[in-house]
């Protein structure tokens, strides 16, 4: 079973499987385990998945999270893919899901997830991280907490430093 890092840097075992986007003309290849499917396909077949707590969705970095506005909390898990760690679109997607669409359940970073990006991900609202397999999960807790505070408001805090200083 794959390992996933939690917000606190702990390692948890997990059975969610990311189902890749099917080729044209093919249908989704659904596994036995809980599955994350492309968000637009979930939306298109929403009535089939109603009430299932073992179906979540994933967004790719170029996808628009706006398509799930008003529906996000029907999902137990949303993942955002980082095709390359240097592709920073996923951070914006995460903040939109959390701060604009009010998503409250688990938000997971998947794909090219490395140690040095974890704290940015945490600040943008991700609370679980499928660390790339070759990376040392025992170092995640440190990487998640390099900084004890940030200057800005983000998903983790709505009080930017300039407001904390004032109080």
């Amino acid at each position: 079973m794959p390992e996933v890092i939690t917000k606190d840097g702990a390692i948890k075992q997990d059975s969610w499987v990311v189902v890749s986007r099917p080729e044209d003309g093919e249908s989704l290849n659904m596994p036995e385990q809980p599955a994350l499917i492309p968000a637009d396909l979930w939306l298109a077949g929403k009535e089939h998945f109603e009430g299932r707590d073992d179906i979540g969705v994933w967004f790719d970095s170029h996808d628009e999270p706006e398509i799930l506005e008003g529906l996000v909390n029907e999902l137990p898990l949303i993942a955002v893919n980082f095709p390359k760690f240097a592709d920073g679109r996923g951070y914006s997607i995460a903040r939109l899901l959390r701060e604009r669409f009010g998503y409250e359940n688990e938000l997971r970073a998947i794909g090219d997830v490395l140690l040095d990006q974890l704290q940015f991900m945490k600040r943008c609202g991700f609370d679980s991280y499928a660390l790339r397999e070759d990376k040392d999960a025992s170092k995640a807790a440190r990487a998640l907490n390099f900084f004890s505070q940030g200057y800005q408001a983000a998903t983790d805090t709505d009080v930017p430093l300039f407001r904390r200083r004032a109080s």
Partner: protein, 550 residues
């Protein structure tokens, strides 16, 4: 100037520890070269032609004497005893060892300095006018807003991996633009609206590099309290929709052009409507708190020293020339703004030795309340010098090499490090600057020519801002040989313009002649006091072409 509080100090210390950890993992092979690359770049560390290069941030160009002294010590202990002032008001070390960088950062953090976000695809150092706070005609002091932007952009979790680098500049003077804001990703011009409220005119999508562009206005008036939320909206639109498939099309200017400025502005407004009242919205108290760091120094109540200066000028022609060119008027009677030029012929533009850094620190303490400003023209400003001390100051800086009285003239060249140091360069730039400086060593002729911006870049990345030089020189590679393309008519001021390419490129040894011919055409055609740029605009590029390629 701004002084760290316990929060800033803690973040700076944690940053040093983080980079030390990253460097150790890179050296241990736990981070691949690709993975370490953006981490070290976001810490200003390039791997260059001869050695790594470390770019140290000088937020909006401000430095204190203790910081200059620490820089001097660092160049001595970890480098070859000199540093380089860059065209974005920062400082570079050319020879540090990779494994020493965490120690260098620790030394810098002790004096409230860092190298955060001086490179990489993130929000870079915010720059501004080197005369901020001391000039007569500014709308307000822009530096508190630069500091507010610095704090907001430092380790911003959403914008650490943008499509490409991102540069913000702020200008507050209505008449001049020494910060070249219209060729920045975001240019903020401070303005007051009809009600007298303070705000910004927002330009987005200017830039140099491969596709030079003057940034269009996307908002005429942004109230000051909305600064950060609006920046956040611009950055979010760029982060989501800027191109990531092609490095050369990834700057925000390409997105603005593709969407049109109006289309881009609409997207930003739509995004902003969601977040404009978020906690990121500035408060009056937050602005005032930062403004409290930029209050006036303890000026003496003085009269202008007009008569004294007149007699000193009369007695000494060189002092007279220096006063005319390197000294600017100050908002306070009896004070003056002095620019120390780092453009002595034979020294690469912007280069300073450890001893010179210490000399500048000393001068700042003695004459200017212990502070200096680095300019994007690679000079150093003493902003608050008493007029009755100018002569004494001039006498002491003359032997130090800071009194070359060529500010804003043809030989006050903006020049990148070029092929002598930089791995990206196609051609050397420093020897071209030097050969032109040598050719135009007649001061009287130089002064007669008036202000001319000559900007030299060793490659398309345009660190030498060649597109916006009145005369721009770009190093190009032609089948392995170094050649130079010349452009004319650029400007980085309020009338920002991208220069036009004159024609086929030239060999290095021909460059002084080429520049001389261009100058001849100007001298033959100018009317009275007409500056170079105006003559060029009036007569166009053809007469220059005819003469140069005759």
């Amino acid at each position: 100037m701004y002084v760290y509080d316990e929060h800033d100090r803690q973040i700076a210390a944690e940053r040093v520890a983080q980079f030390r950890d990253q460097t150790e993992r890179a050296l241990a092979g736990e981070l691949s070269e690709d993975e370490f690359l953006p981490l070290r770049l976001q810490n200003g560390l390039y791997v260059q032609r001869l050695a790594p290069m470390l770019r140290i941030a000088v937020p909006y160009g401000m430095l204190r004497s203790e910081q200059l002294r620490r820089l001097a010590r660092v160049t001595r202990d970890y480098d070859k005893g000199y540093a380089h002032f860059t065209t974005r008001q920062n400082v570079q070390l050319n020879w540090p060892a990779l494994e020493d960088v965490p120690d260098i950062l620790a030394e810098l953090a002790e004096v409230e300095m860092h190298a955060n976000q001086t490179s990489g695809n993130c929000i870079r150092n915010t720059t501004t006018d080197q005369f901020s706070g001391v000039q007569v005609d500014e709308v307000a002091d822009p530096r508190p807003y630069c500091e507010i932007i610095r704090q907001w952009s430092t380790f911003h979790p959403e914008f650490a991996f943008l499509p490409r680098k991102f540069k913000v500049a702020v200008n507050a003077s209505e008449k001049t633009d020494r910060a070249a804001i219209q060729v920045h990703d975001i240019g903020l011009q401070m303005v007051r609206n009809d009600q007298g409220e303070l705000g910004f005119r927002v330009h987005v999508g200017g830039g140099l590099g491969r596709t030079p562009m003057v940034g269009p206005v996307i908002r005429e008036f942004l109230p000051e309290l909305d600064l950060l939320t609006y920046l956040e909206a611009v950055l979010r639109v760029y982060n989501r929709y800027g191109r990531r498939d092609n490095k050369f099309k990834a700057r925000i200017k390409i997105l603005v052009k593709a969407l049109t400025p109006e289309g881009f502005a609409e997207k930003v407004e739509a995004e902003w409507s969601h977040i404009k009242d978020s906690p990121t919205r500035l408060t009056r108290e937050a602005i005032e708190r930062i403004q409290g760091y930029f209050t006036e120094p303890a000026y003496d109540a003085l009269e202008n020293a007009t008569e004294l200066l007149a007699s000193q000028r009369f007695d000494n022609r060189q002092f007279d020339q220096w006063l005319s060119h390197n000294v600017d008027s100050h908002k306070k009677p009896g004070y003056a703004i002095v620019t120390l030029t780092m453009k002595k012929t034979g020294t690469p533009p912007g280069d300073v030795s450890d001893t010179q850094l210490e000399q500048i620190a000393e001068l700042a303490e003695q004459y200017s309340f212990g502070e200096v400003r680095v300019t994007h023209q690679q000079n150093v400003v003493l902003a608050d010098v008493r007029q009755d001390q100018l002569f004494e100051l001039w006498q002491s800086i003359e032997p130090m090499g800071f009194a070359t009285a060529n500010l804003n003239t043809l030989t006050d060249v903006i020049c990148c490090p070029g092929g002598d140091y930089c791995a990206l360069a196609n051609a050397k730039s420093i020897p071209v600057a030097e050969s032109i400086q040598r050719r135009f060593d007649d001061k009287d002729f130089l002064y007669d020519l008036g202000d001319i911006d000559l900007n030299i870049s060793g490659c398309m990345n345009a660190c030498g801002h060649h597109h916006v030089g009145n005369i721009g020189v770009l190093g190009v590679d032609k089948k392995g040989a170094e050649f130079y393309q010349v452009s004319l008519g650029g400007s980085s001021h309020h009338d920002a313009t991208i220069g036009k390419i004159l024609g086929p490129s030239f060999a290095q040894e021909d460059m002084p002649d080429v520049i001389a011919k261009i100058i001849d055409v100007y001298v033959d055609n100018r009317k009275e006091e007409e500056p170079f740029l105006e003559t060029y605009r009036r007569i166009g590029i053809e007469p220059f072409k005819e003469r140069v390629y005759a």
